[in-house]
Assembly symmetry: C2
Homo-oligomer: 315 residues x 2
């Protein structure tokens, strides 16, 4: 990425983050009893890279770029509705991510007290409060995707719910966490580790890309390229996560460092060694970019920049 | 209800329960890692009155009864798709109900070890297993409502997701549980108690009726009648629950009896006394039937029988 592209991406990214934060501030906790609303907002606000929302919004722009630019009024209205759908999808994936962190931090799971530099939700609001806040955030994700009386086509609403539900459930994120739980202290080969991570973190990252794409009408070939991009990026994210866990301190990470080793969890670093893990992340990054090239989509510069961000991040 | 109507309802109910159990057995745990799938199935199978699925299916039949009976082939296909949508909705509400029980029983909430006469999920699968099973059951509910390549109209899929998400979330079930949590040991007047129960149990019972209705095209007046039915039935259910907690033993209930008083929870019985609580349940039952009459729908005999079931149940 050239420095001019870098500045353009930074500006785009800042604008999208502002939209996403404003939308989350508006929607999260709305209509909730006081204590529950506070816990939900605490879980969602003030931190995180918002990688998943950015993936949704960048994928939406990549497929929107393919539409006719000389569209009429009704097409412009549809375009606005699909932009709104993408913003809702961006918030919905973030809510699923946020709820998973809340539950994952609880004493019966990872028992973590620090997250993004702040006390975790169960430390702040009690375990019952954290349990309920997580449950309510998951429900809210699907509520955001199905606004009543909206111009968002109901076919898009249904597709977004389908993609999100699959990636969050037993064959996605929750399934990956169950495998993770069952794997502590066990010898795991790379194929099993990869499968676990594809479910645990890959599925939701992949779904972010697909949900953005669902706010448009990409051709089959373009979709296949985005699938490859999403898969590679999802796995690269986890490999980099494993590397950061051993190379960064808690302050930089904003969460407890070194906890994989402390919990005897198998990781890419423990399995491959640090150098081979770094090479693996590089290869996955190249594969993600190859997916974008294969998609034939013209407007993929932001998706490429997000792949760079995943590889080069320090927390 | 005459004894002939009673036999017809019993036959209908048995047939619908068989369909629902078969569908749940087919769908729950599919594609899940072993341990997670087992915990999910354990949470859902073998017990419960399945009141919510029966409400969905009875409401679907009430609104389907209004359609033209001399329908052509394409209308017959649509009717089949809407019947499938209702079965999926019936399972989805039951999954939300089941997940809420799993999380509610956990040590940080009610710390209950017995449910439907069996050890609770966290006793059987550990707390982390119970947490994940509940999370995965909630996601599965939305997955069931959005099957890919199905003949179910996407507008119906989106509406079902909307109704379910709202009733499960912060302005529904999860919100009610948060209020419940915050109210232990506090003096609560009847208005606050009613509000809590309308969210905690009423919202999902009400949504069951509305989701069944969404698998058809009832007129505004019919819908208003069903809303009144669902609201009254939902509240009656909780009043009867409070009565049973003090009048039945644990063996009959299939869960720990007397726990409201043990936890110093405000109930209709503690607030009104037993006799007035019974009268309150009777009044709500009458109001539910008045809602059915006001709907103008012809085929409401099963919904009426379900209102009787709520009032006359012993567990």
């Amino acid at each position: 990425m050239s420095s001019m592209q870098g500045r353009a991406f930074a500006a785009w990214s800042a604008a999208q983050l502002a939209r996403t934060e404003a939308a989350l501030a508006q929607w999260v906790g709305l209509g909730a009893p006081d204590a529950l609303g506070q816990a939900m907002r605490y879980a969602v606000q003030g931190g995180g890279k918002r990688l998943r929302p950015l993936l949704v919004l960048a994928a939406r722009e990549a497929v929107a770029g393919e539409s006719d630019s000389s569209a009429g009024a009704s097409e412009a209205a549809l375009r606005g509705a699909l932009d709104e759908a993408a913003l809702r999808a961006a918030c919905a994936v973030e809510l699923i991510h946020a709820y998973s962190l809340v539950h994952d931090d609880m004493p019966c799971m990872d028992n973590d007290v620090l997250r993004r530099g702040k006390p975790t939700v169960h430390v702040q609001f009690g375990q019952a409060g954290a349990l309920l806040a997580g449950d309510a955030l998951q429900a809210l994700a699907f509520e955001l995707l199905t606004p009543e009386g909206s111009a968002i086509p109901e076919s898009v609403q249904a597709t977004l719910c389908r993609l999100l539900a699959r990636s969050a459930g037993a064959a996605g994120m929750a399934g990956g966490q169950a495998i993770d739980l069952a794997s502590v202290g066990l010898p795991l080969d790379e194929a099993h580790l990869r499968h676990m991570h594809q479910l645990k973190t890959g599925a939701l990252l992949q779904a972010s890309v697909m949900m953005g794409a669902a706010c448009g009408a990409p051709e089959v070939g373009a979709l296949a390229g985005l699938v490859r991009y999403g898969e590679s990026l999802g796995l690269a994210f986890q490999v980099v996560d494993d590397i950061l866990d051993v190379t960064q301190d808690s302050a930089t990470l904003g969460k407890t460092a070194g906890k994989d080793a402390a919990h005897a969890k198998p990781t890419y670093v423990s399995l491959l060694g640090l150098e081979a893990a770094r090479q693996c992340a590089q290869n996955l990054h190249s594969d993600a970019l190859a997916g974008l090239a294969a998609s034939g989509l013209r407007d993929t510069v932001r998706l490429a920049a997000l792949a760079d961000m995943v590889l080069l991040r320090s927390n």
